[in-house]
Amino acid sequence: MAERTDQPGFRRQYDAQLHLLDRQILDRDGLPVAKVDDIELVVRADGRLAVAALLCGPGALGPRTGGRLGRWTKAIWRRLRPDEDPQPGRIDAALVTGTDSAVHVSASAAELRLDGLERWVRRYVVDRIPGADHAD
């Protein structure tokens, strides 16, 4: 159980496993950002747990997948990152504006910059094909 009463998005006590983990995160325009691959918890002054941030990407999902596959997921992700000690994508709990069947955040997907693979595929694959910016 985790509780966060001082944030607009987390008004009630809830079961993080059932209501938060693996949910879709949508940005302020309703576009998909990522999944809640893991969460960062803090212990509050009164000893109860609160959600500090949503963690996204293979760096967060790998350890939760567990086993050899989980380790490999994380190891490959580390190799592909330029930084010395890469950290999983992080969305501060303060940005969460509400939860229903998805988790809504107040930033836009572009601002959050959690979609490294998306940008890579866009730049090197999809944008090179004619008609890539043609919507329905």
Binding site: D22, P32, R64, A102, V121, V126, D127, H134
Partner: protein, 409 residues
């Protein structure tokens, strides 16, 4: 008037879009070997897909979440991933079968070998998935797929002994030359052909893309409740004509080119041309649906942006997966593997994989957190639970029957 037109269009495309390569091949094969003694399985399968599609359509409309969002939310990353790989694998196998089916349909019309058509078909398919609007894609192939009504017309024109056909329907057992194991194996195959999982992935993802809300549930139900049973009748009419023409002659359907022969006998060249047009539309439409479903499944599982309503560059990973799937499917078909054999395996593996996605949907359809007032009523739950048992039994029986009958020999 406009609303009425939209509803009618939805029902018509549901009918025309119901039949795919799995239904074509399996119904024709079963008709030629078992007559209509397995017709009850088609009925059971059609009711099953209605139950499954109605639930997932309602979940999509009320919660805005498509199938693989829910699979991951309910099963977690580890079991969810195993589920994703299995379900996506079956959908991909079906995708290969559909592309092969389109190529075979063109081979029948042109006498140019299907392997040569595969790259052409795949290129056309990919351009459609990349560029053509979702509504066009859904409506065009669904409506042209209605050409398969020619099988029902052919049945009427063949003027069979209706009492004899009815006697086959009411005696659900294998004929003199067939065993109970092969009868059961083809029951599983027919069930898998009617209840192919990708139909539900596509249906619920389409609903999310079109922003269905609670007020669209009524229209969605009309499409499902009217369109699917009528589509099932098309499947049955294919089994019926092969039962009339091939069963007495002791000829077993082994290739797609045999399937339209009864139509040619009954209605001549024009009938044959219409049947081939129907084959083309049904398989091409289903190839679009399965190709997109491979992308939908993965994108929904990992939380990527997906779909046909945004420009490809806004859903880059999704389109990369669809493109990769198309390329690999071509590579598989260029090994000259027989698309009909791929189809036979794909329907059995569909039956095997069904519980994986059915259970999470059944659970969520009962969760007031997602569904509010629109949770399953007692009737939907009774049917949903009965079908869960049926689906699990069929799934467990699939592989042993495949081994015992050596794939239906």
């Amino acid at each position: 008037m406009k609303k009425l037109f939209a509803v009618a269009l939805g029902i018509l495309t549901a009918i025309g879009g119901f039949v795919d390569i799995g239904d074509l091949v399996t119904n024709a094969l079963v008709g030629s070997r078992f007559g209509l003694s397995l017709a009850w399985v088609v009925a059971v399968g059609v009711i099953g897909i209605i139950v499954f599609a109605e639930m997932s359509g309602r979940v999509a409309a009320v919660s805005g979440r498509a199938t693989f969002d829910l699979v991951r939310e309910r099963l977690g990353p580890r079991i969810g991933l195993a589920n994703l790989l299995a379900s996506m694998g079956v959908t991909f196998l079906t995708f290969i079968a559909e592309i092969g089916g389109v190529a075979l349909a063109i081979e029948i019309a042109t006498s140019v070998d299907e392997v040569l058509w595969v790259p052409v078909v795949a290129a056309a398919l990919w351009i459609v998935l990349w560029r053509v609007r979702f509504a066009v894609l859904e409506n065009a192939f669904g409506l042209v797929g209605l050409a398969l009504v020619v099988f029902a017309v052919a049945l009427w024109k063949l003027d069979p002994d209706w009492m004899d056909l009815w006697a086959q329907v009411t005696s659900p057992r294998p004929g003199a030359n067939e065993t109970w194991t092969s009868y059961s194996y083809y029951a599983v195959a027919l069930f898998g052909a009617a209840m192919t999982p990708y139909e539900v992935f596509f249906f619920s993802s389409g609903g999310v893309e079109e922003h269905w809300s609670e007020k669209d549930v009524g229209t969605m139900r009309l499409n499902v409740f009217l369109g699917f049973p009528l589509g099932g009748l098309l499947s049955l009419s294919i089994a019926a004509v092969t039962a009339v023409v091939f069963l007495p002659a002791g000829v077993q359907v082994e290739s797609l080119s045999q399937v339209p022969l009864p139509v040619a006998i009954a209605l001549g060249k024009i009938g044959l041309a219409i049947a081939l047009l129907g084959f083309f539309a049904a398989t091409f439409g289903a190839a679009c649906e399965t190709g997109l479903s491979v992308g939908y499944s993965m994108a929904q599982f990992y939380g990527w942006s997906w779909g046909k309503f945004v420009a490809p560059r806004q859903a880059a990973r999704f389109h990369a997966v669809v493109l990769l799937a198309t390329v690999v499917a071509v590579a598989v078909l260029l090994t000259t593997v027989d698309p009909v054999a791929v189809t036979e395996y794909s329907v059995v593996f569909s039956a095997l994989a069904l519980p994986l996605t059915y259970l999470p949907i059944l659970v969520i359809a009962n969760d007031p957190d997602y569904m509010g007032e629109r949770v399953n009523g007692w009737f939907a739950n009774a049917l949903g639970s009965v079908y869960f048992v049926v689906i699990v039994v069929v799934s467990v029986a699939a592989i042993p029957l495949m081994v015992l009958t050596r794939g239906g020999q």
